[in-house]
Amino acid sequence: MSQATHTTPLIEVRELRKWFPIHKGIIQRHVGDVKAVDGVSFDVFPGETLSLVGESGCGKTTAARTLLRLYEPTAGSAIYHPKGEAAVDLFSLGAREMRRWRRDLSIIFQDPYESLNPRMSVGQIVGEGLLVHRVVPKRQIDDRVASLLERVGLRAETRNRYPHEFSGGQRQRIGIARALALEPRFIVCDEAVSALDVSIQAQVVNILKDLQAEMGLSYLFIAHDLSIVKYISDRIAVMYLGRIVELGTTREIFEEPQHPYTKALLSAVPVPDPTHRPERILLTGDVPSPIDPPSGCHFRTRCPFAEDRCREAYPELTQLTETHTVSCHLMDGTVTDTQDAPAVSDELA
């Protein structure tokens, strides 16, 4: 959705930080912080899907949950533009004021087995938000629940049944119905289809797409499966160790990736085509600890192109196109093209 950049964003996140303090010893002295998210900025436009991708521990889930104030932010701002009202900074609101906007901001969780209360009926689960926020009179809740369930492809009668009676895919539909109950404008899909089998995953992704088209929803989509990300996203932000290293449209990220980490990540994805032999950039080692990230560019310890200057300063964001930004020292054009990467070709080819 490239035209989206010309409209007002729905949410503007600036310099979001979430540090988790580490306490040690008998007096619980503060000895350091896990810098799970360390200064990320992005916009979410109306009706678009923005994906956050990166390896486990990169901070994608923490960033999204902090945005919804499920974690208290350490620093930064998140400007939300409500319909017909003045913009608010979600991070400066008290709990009561925040509650007012929670209706507009929703979430679908990864594990459909753990995110549904086993002691509540499907009707209670889906209708709970309606009851709490007093959106409709009590006697209408049943009808609303029924129509929500039908919207995600479940029969209205399922409202009297309990989560354990459903398969993983059906439970995820219940989770979606719950997320939709308050007619939100923005939904965080936190690995929402990751636990599902391929054929079921396709069903759920289609539902998400249909709902977006019907209701003009914005999604912040978090997933580690890059083929789903490629299919569902308008724009993609690539995260590494608490920061966004590259952000662009789906085409820009997949066709013209610039950051060495993005390139390595994309090259690692197995392709379901035995005649395709990927030129792979194999990264060595693991993601460093977010308690004590490397100096300068966080990626330099695993980067095949790291230079001396990469250890000195964190690279500034370079604006490549109107929609494409990247944070890498090599982008200033003083080094040879990174296309000449020491790629590891597949030995079986």
């Binding site: 486990s56 391929v198 992704v205 789906t250 690692a268 392709v271 379901p272």
Partner: protein, 338 residues
Amino acid sequence: MSERNGGMKRGEVLLEVTDLRTHFRGEEGVAKAVDGVSFKLLSGETLGVVGESGCGKSVTAMSIMQLVPQPPGFIAGGSIRFAGRDLLSMSIDEFRRIRGNEIAMIFQEPMTALNPVYRVGEQIAEAVRLHQGLDREASRARAIEMLDLVKIPSPEKRVDDYPHQMSGGMRQRVMIAMAMSCGPSLLIADEPTTALDVTVQAQILDLIRGLQQETGMSVLLITHDLGVVAEVSDHVAVMYAGKVVEYAAVADLFAQPRHPYTIGLLKSLPDLAAPGERLHTIPGTVPSAFHFPSGCRFRTRCPLASAECAEREPPLDELPDVGGHSVACHHLKEAEAL
């Protein structure tokens, strides 16, 4: 590392599973988790066993390793031949000399498969002492050698680590080191990279492939990921509801899948969909192992299902036109148009 491939040349059948049936007794009756699985694994090759949750792929692996808890599980029929020997008719003592020695296995979640209270080196050394009769010192040296083989940096230090001190990728390397320590001729890998990030997955698959080329061992790879299958397999067995529905060389399977289930599965991958296009779906869900449909088990979700499919179970027959490509379907002609 010594060359161990069960005394076989590359291309000979190392493992042959015929009509394997592993059932479980439950409150609802008998769950036929594996119900007539047949395939061959050639020496030095990788066979990918692919299917969705509940199709019986892991139970197949557990049956080969004789790790199915009995009761409630039991082998209801079939045979498993490994390097010319019938594994199911062996005594448990005889089989123990094979398990962990000639056949080794790695699991999805290395944290649960490793013992958290023992150092990783000790866990590798234990297998070597048990199977190869090495003493304490020699087995520790062997453990360090194995950690080096799986490319763990400074193995002489990491040998004294506990599992929780390592990352997920490292732990999977330790599992592989342990599995490789006795020089197996068959490595069974049950979703070995499912819990790992793609960059680490690429490292681990690369490692397994390298070890295979070095030692000539065969690999039975169990996965739900068609990308991984395409990348590392020589042959593929597609499982659905306790049965192999299609078996072929990897190039044939992806170039021309013949079973409606395989076709549907490949079509529902987002890789192949154009942006904005709806994803192809297979309607419905996998039936419960307690109540499989009569006849062909895929018929309740199949676009080609006919009366014949409900009456008679289609046999897994080799195609007349493509050697080594077997499909269990009554409607092969119509499936070509899917």
